[in-house]
Structure formats: structure tokens, C-alpha cells
């Protein structure tokens, strides 16, 4: 018998909710048999393992020793995972303070909020390690199968890193509450999470571009100069890498550091949890800062009114801003590469153009969902004397406008070097953004804008088709520059992905 309101009681409650949440996400709100889910899981796992084997199989078969190059490579790869984990943890910990679903009920009950905080932040650590295991698992399994089972200890390192990432996220969020207050913490934390998530990878790419002229994030890690500049292999900075390779002392230290950091963070931050969560709850009852006071309206057409409203809402959405910021940040390395290689080599466009095309597709997917499906006043717009077609056109125009705003500087930069490359980029971006928007149109379902983070849940087909179409248009654009005769192949596949989505769109 578990005592009510105890740590284990909360843990069981949270576990039940998390399971239902995960199950709903996997089933996308539709009744799907467990056997079908299991089959999908197995197929995805096989594909991921095949990719991992193709990437590292031959390297692992040759035998991996704990030399400095390997330590640099493992630590660098680990750091990429760690930044992703930290980004995810920051976002989740912030939500633990701000998500209101049952917080009002629990905080108004005689339950101990410290126990709830401990359970929720531990759940963040578990979710984070789940994500990391999903990404790194195939590589770890391939290493364990080819080089030896000691690589399975890398899973333990992932747990320790996840605990450490969660501890950092807790400390950062608590510090923000203390320094800037509940009103600004969420926005700053979301933006910081986006920057952290993309920051390290982008940093590697930027250093790679500046030093070696390559966009690959692994160029830097393979560099002999970097290896030579790093501390000796007896340094403590290599402990996580050594732990992943099965070194028992390094493993013990890594696990203790991760668990200790999380324990301490929970211990110190849980005291202020109820206070900060209540402060965050109070935000919904406080008037926002007064806007610029106007006493007159601007006469706009119906479509202009719709577009103006969409732009205002897009610009005032901190969650969307942070997500878009992350996608825009990924455009920094190609922009830098363009800048540095301006007028020197045309081969640069083969690398840069697909990155921009893919980014435009991804950005368009998010914006299109917000504009087309995420309508908070659906009844108001539907009862207005505007034809559904005009509403749709205005919403699509606002998506295109936002994309154009982001991409125009890059297109201009490319056009200065090569008009052909700029035209190909513009065409690729238009096709990728158009495909993402069309898919969002076919799969539209009215939802509150606050459901943005769960948009992928509404349809796996839409999400996958959107991703495939973007990748294939990016490939087609790259080939159009380098091997034009072959560009038709990914283009046909992209049209196929669209046809697949169209055939599976919900009817009625």
C-alpha cells in the first residue's frame, strides 16, 4: 500500500499519466493495435540500426582503443547529444512550472509540493534519457555488437548525462525566476533552450567552416590539430567518454556526478517550486504590459486584416519564436559559408542550397500549421462575411510572407554570386514550403494555437510526408546545381511523397 501524497504515490500517478500521454502520441489519437505499434517500432529500429551500421560499422570492426582521437570523437559526439538533452530538459523543466493542467489542483491540496517537484523533474530526466537513447541507441548497439558488450555501459552514461542536464536546467530555471521573475522566465528559457539545442552543432560547423572550409560538423572532431591541443588522456574531461567505453572507475564517477547534481538541484530548487509555480500561475490574472495606445483603426481589406492578424500572432508567440529561432540558427553556418566563399567557388552552392531549401520546408510546416489549423477564434472567422477560399488564401499568404522575410537576405547573398543558384534556391524553397503548406492543408484540423507543440501527434503521415518532401526537394535542388540530369529523380520522389499524403488525407 502506497501512502497518499508520498513520493512513490506521486511517481505512480505521474507514470500513469506519462504512459497514457505517450500511448496517445504513438496512436495519434486513433485506435491502433499494439501489435501494429510494435511492428512499426521494430521496422523503425531496424532502419536506424542499419544506418548506424553503415556509418560506424567498419570503424568499430577495426577495433576501438581508448586513444586520444577516439576520446575526442566520443566526447564531441557526446557533447552534441548533451546539448540536445539540455535543450529538451530546459524546455520540460520550464513547463513543469508553467503547465497548469493539474498544478492548481495539487498546489491547492495539502500535498507536499516538494515531492511533486522531485517526481516531475525526475520524469524530465527520464524523458530526456529516453530521447537520447532513441537517437544514440542504434550506434551503441552496433558498437556493442562489433567491438564488445562493454559499450552497453554507454546507456548508463546517457542516464548520468541526462541527470546532469536536468540538474543544469533546474538550476538555470530557478535562477531565472529569482533574477527576472515569472513573467520573463518562460520566454528567456525557451529561447535559451533553442540556442543551446542548436548552438553546439552550429558552433562545430562554424569552426569547421572557418578552419577547414567544410560544413560537416565532424570535420572539426577529426582534426589532428584539435586532438593535439586537447588535454592528455588522463584528464578528467575524458571521464564520460571512458565511462561509455566501460571503464569502471570513470563510470562510477560519471554516475555519481550526474545523480549527485540532480539530487542537489532537486533539493535546493524544490523549496521554491510552489512559490515560483504560484507566481507563474498568477501571470494569467495579471494584465500584460500595455501596448502602444492607439485611438484609431487602420482601414484594411479582409485579406489584409487576416494577414495582419496572423503576423501579429506569429510575432507575439514566444514558443513559436524560440522554435523558429532554432530553425533560423541552422541557417547561420550556410550563410557564413556563402559569405566566406563569396565569388570563389561555385561548388559551395551544392552544400548550401539544400540546407536552405530544407530549412524553408520545415519552417513553412510549422507556420502553416499555425496559420491553417491553429485558429483560436475559428467561429469568429467562419461567421465573418469572407469566403472560405479568401480566408485560406490570406493565411497561405501570411505563411509565404514570413518565409520570404527569413529567406530573402540569403537569396540575395546567393544571387550576388550566382543568379542560377539563387533561382534554384528560390524554386526549391518555394516547392519545399509549398509542399509543407499543402500537406498542412490536406491534414488540417481545427485546434488552439497552444497545441502547436503537439502538432505532429495529429498525423504521423503528415509529419513524415512533410519531412520527406523537404529532404527530397533539397536533394533535387542540390542535383540541379551539380548534376542537373539527375535532379528529376528526387523531384519525382517528392511528388510521390505528396501524392502519398494526398491519398491518405482525412476525408469529409
Amino acid at each position: 500500500m502506497i501512502a497518499p501524497n508520498s513520493l512513490s504515490w506521486f511517481a505512480r500517478h505521474e507514470l500513469g499519466l506519462a504512459w497514457r500521454d505517450w500511448s496517445a502520441m504513438m496512436r495519434a489519437g486513433k485506435p491502433v493495435r499494439r501489435s501494429v505499434l510494435a511492428a512499426i517500432f521494430v521496422v523503425v529500429a531496424i532502419i536506424l540500426h542499419a544506418i548506424a551500421y553503415a556509418l560506424i560499422g567498419s570503424w568499430a570492426k577495426a577495433g576501438i582503443g581508448p586513444d586520444k582521437q577516439t576520446l575526442v570523437w566520443l566526447s564531441g559526439g557526446g557533447l552534441i547529444f548533451f546539448t540536445v538533452m539540455l535543450s529538451q530538459a530546459m524546455e520540460s523543466v520550464t513547463r513543469a512550472y508553467y503547465a497548469r493542467s493539474d498544478l492548481d489542483l495539487i498546489l491547492s491540496s495539502p500535498a507536499n509540493p516538494r515531492a511533486l517537484f522531485a517526481v516531475r523533474t525526475s520524469a524530465v530526466a527520464l524523458t530526456t534519457v529516453g530521447l537520447a537513447a532513441l537517437l544514440a541507441g542504434p550506434a551503441i548497439n552496433v558498437l556493442a555488437q562489433t567491438d564488445g558488450p562493454h559499450w552497453l555501459f554507454a546507456y548508463v552514461v546517457l542516464v548520468a548525462l541526462s541527470a546532469f542536464a536536468t540538474a543544469l536546467a533546474i538550476a538555470f530555471t530557478a535562477l531565472l525566476f529569482k533574477l527576472v521573475g515569472a513573467k520573463k522566465t518562460r520566454l528567456i528559457s525557451q529561447i535559451a533552450a533553442a540556442v543551446v539545442g542548436a548552438g553546439f552543432i552550429i558552433g562545430l560547423q562554424v569552426v569547421g567552416i572557418l578552419t577547414y572550409g567544410s560544413l560537416s560538423r565532424f570535420t572539426m572532431l577529426n582534426s589532428a590539430d584539435l586532438v593535439a591541443a586537447m588535454p592528455p588522456d588522463t584528464s578528467v574531461i575524458w571521464l564520460p567518454a571512458k565511462a561509455a567505453m566501460g571503464d569502471p572507475v570513470a563510470l562510477s564517477f560519471t554516475v555519481l556526478a550526474g545523480a549527485g547534481a540532480l539530487g542537489l538541484a532537486i533539493l535546493f530548487a524544490s523549496a521554491g517550486f510552489a512559490r515560483y509555480a504560484v507566481a507563474a500561475a498568477g501571470l494569467t490574472h495579471v494584465k500584460s504590459a500595455a501596448q502602444r495606445v492607439r485611438t484609431s483603426f487602420t482601414m484594411l481589406s479582409q485579406k489584409q486584416s487576416l494577414r495582419a492578424k496572423e503576423f501579429k500572432l506569429l510575432l507575439r508567440d514566444p514558443w513559436l519564436l524560440s522554435q523558429s529561432l532554432m530553425q533560423i540558427l541552422y541557417l547561420v553556418p550556410p550563410a557564413l559559408m556563402l559569405w566566406l566563399n563569396f565569388g570563389q567557388s561555385s561548388s559551395i552552392y551544392v552544400v548550401v542550397v539544400p540546407v536552405i531549401v530544407m530549412a524553408s520546408g520545415q519552417l513553412a510546416g510549422g507556420l502553416a500549421w499555425l496559420a491553417i489549423s491553429g485558429e483560436d477564434a475559428a467561429d469568429l472567422v467562419a461567421t465573418a462575411p469572407v469566403s472560405p477560399r479568401d480566408i485560406l488564401v490570406a493565411k497561405i499568404q501570411s505563411v509565404i510572407g514570413a518565409i520570404a522575410l527569413v529567406l530573402t537576405p540569403l537569396l540575395l547573398l546567393i544571387a550576388l554570386g550566382s543568379l542560377t543558384a539563387a533561382l534554384v534556391t528560390a524554386l526549391g524553397c518555394a516547392l519545399a514550403a509549398g509542399s509543407a503548406t499543402a500537406i498542412q492543408l490536406w491534414f488540417r484540423c481545427q485546434a488552439k494555437r497552444s497545441m502547436f507543440r503537439r502538432r505532429q501527434v495529429s498525423s504521423r503521415v503528415a509529419t513524415l510526408s512533410e519531412a520527406f518532401a523537404s529532404i527530397l526537394w533539397a536533394g533535387s535542388a542540390a542535383l540541379l546545381i551539380s548534376l542537373p540530369a539527375l535532379a528529376i529523380i528526387p523531384a519525382i520522389l517528392a511528388v510521390g511523397a505528396l501524392a502519398f499524403a494526398f491519398a491518405l488525407r482525412p476525408r469529409g
Binding site: 489584409q304 469568429l380 462575411p385
Partner: protein, 250 residues
């Protein structure tokens, strides 16, 4: 009553989901009338109003709004109509002033006229101080008043309200009722569903009682009293009596 006197004329309206929600409904509301639609939960009131507002397609039947066929010429019908639901249709990240500007843009109201009306409405509804703060921090009552201001800023001839007083405090409810009364005095037609029978009793000129998707009774309070069983003094008594008799008959 000729068709030219009618603000709303519904004939043979039907809609089914898993089961029939509205079955062959005929309803006529006169111009300048305050009409209350009552009925138990799930009776089909909201479905009827959503079909009138153009938010649901009927399976059968016709809807005429001031002579405009809502099915053939929905934009003409929408131009003179406003819809307010119990869930306020307001954007968290817009201010009431910006929201009203957006609504004025949708209904293509001249900017100067719309700004003047917006200022008056916000003042009338006690929202002047919050006119330039984002709606995200507003209470349910404030949001409902912003939504109502949005419905009134284009001066519709027909206002459809679905449970507009749900969740409002006494003061806010009074403000909303006063605004609606003033509109009726200016010749606007109002159709409203409500669970607060006292509101229907005091404000409505005619009351329609819906049960199982059909209009089971209609008339002024006196006419309904006459048709109900003896001893039904209040609208609540009459309503419960009519619904119970309908259930027995079904």
C-alpha cells in the same frame, strides 16, 4: 406574419450526427424581437444556432436571414449577423482594441466609424482600462465582453448568442444584459439560448422550447403558461412541465 417581417425563417431544418440532433424544425423570429431558445442539455439548441450562423451544414431544410438564403448566399447572411458562443472567440495575444480592429476589417467597416464604435463599446462594457492590454490575462467575464463587443462593432441586424452569460459574475451579466436590451430597443433581433430561465423570463418577448431536436412549444410567457399544466407559475415550472410531457409522449 409575412416573410418580409421576419429576421429569421427556418423551414424543415434537420441535422444528424450519430443520431438525429435536429428533426424537421420550423422556426420564425420577427425583426426586432428578443427570442429565447430553451431546452435541456443535448436538445439541439446549439446545433440549430450553429447552422444558422453558417458553422454547420444542415442535412435538409432552409434558413433565411432577413430574406437571404443562408445556404445559397452565405456571405450576405453573415454580413448582417453576429455569433457569440459560450466559449469566447478571442485571441490571447491581441488587445481588445486590436481584436475589434480585426473584426471591423473582416466586416469591412469604415475605420473611423469602427474605431468610434469600438471606443464606445469598450467604455460601455467597462473595458476601457484594459483596451490596450493583451487578452491573455483576462478573466472569463472580460473575454466574454470582448467577444460581445466584437459581435456588436459591425452593428449586425441579427445577433445569435449561445449561452452568453455562462460563467459571468452578476455585474458582468448585468452589463451584457443592458447592452442587449439597448440593441433590441434599436430594432436589432436577438436569438439567445440560456440555461438561466430567469433571464429568458425577463428579457425575451417570445420563448421557444426545444427537446430532442424539435420545437415542442413556443410563445410569450403567458402563452406558454396557458399551455402548461395547472400550477406552473414560473418559467422554470412551465419548462420542466413541457419537457416532462414531451418525454412521456416520446
Amino acid at each position: 406574419m409575412g416573410s418580409s417581417d421576419l429576421a429569421l425563417e427556418i423551414k424543415g431544418l434537420s441535422k444528424s450526427f450519430d443520431r438525429p440532433a435536429v428533426s424537421g424544425l420550423d422556426l420564425a423570429v420577427k425583426k426586432g424581437e428578443f427570442y429565447a431558445l430553451l431546452g435541456p442539455n443535448g436538445a439541439g439548441k446549439t446545433t440549430i444556432l450553429r447552422m444558422v450562423a453558417g458553422l454547420l451544414q444542415p442535412d435538409a431544410g432552409t434558413i433565411s436571414v432577413f430574406g437571404h438564403d443562408a445556404k445559397r448566399d452565405p456571405l450576405a447572411a453573415k454580413r448582417i449577423m453576429a455569433w457569440v458562443s459560450d466559449e469566447p472567440m478571442v485571441y490571447d495575444r491581441l488587445t481588445p482594441f486590436e481584436y475589434l480592429e480585426f473584426v471591423a476589417g473582416l466586416w469591412q467597416i469604415d475605420a473611423e466609424t469602427a474605431a468610434r464604435r469600438a471606443t464606445d463599446l469598450l467604455d460601455w462594457l467597462g473595458l476601457s482600462e484594459s483596451a490596450h492590454a493583451r487578452c491573455g490575462g483576462f478573466s472569463k467575464g472580460m473575454l466574454q465582453k470582448v467577444a460581445l463587443a466584437g459581435a456588436l462593432v459591425h452593428e449586425p441586424s441579427l445577433i445569435i448568442l449561445d449561452e452568453p452569460l455562462t460563467g459571468l459574475d452578476a455585474g458582468s451579466a448585468r452589463q451584457v444584459k443592458d447592452v442587449l436590451k439597448a440593441r433590441v430597443a434599436r430594432g436589432v433581433t436577438i436569438i439567445m439560448t440560456t440555461h438561466i430561465l430567469e433571464v429568458a423570463e425577463r428579457m425575451a418577448e417570445r420563448i421557444g422550447v426545444i427537446a430532442q431536436g424539435r420545437l415542442i412549444a413556443e410563445g410569450t410567457l403567458e402563452e406558454l403558461r396557458a399551455s402548461a399544466s395547472e400550477g406552473s407559475a414560473t418559467l422554470e415550472d412551465i419548462f420542466l412541465d413541457l419537457v416532462a410531457r414531451n418525454e412521456v409522449a416520446a
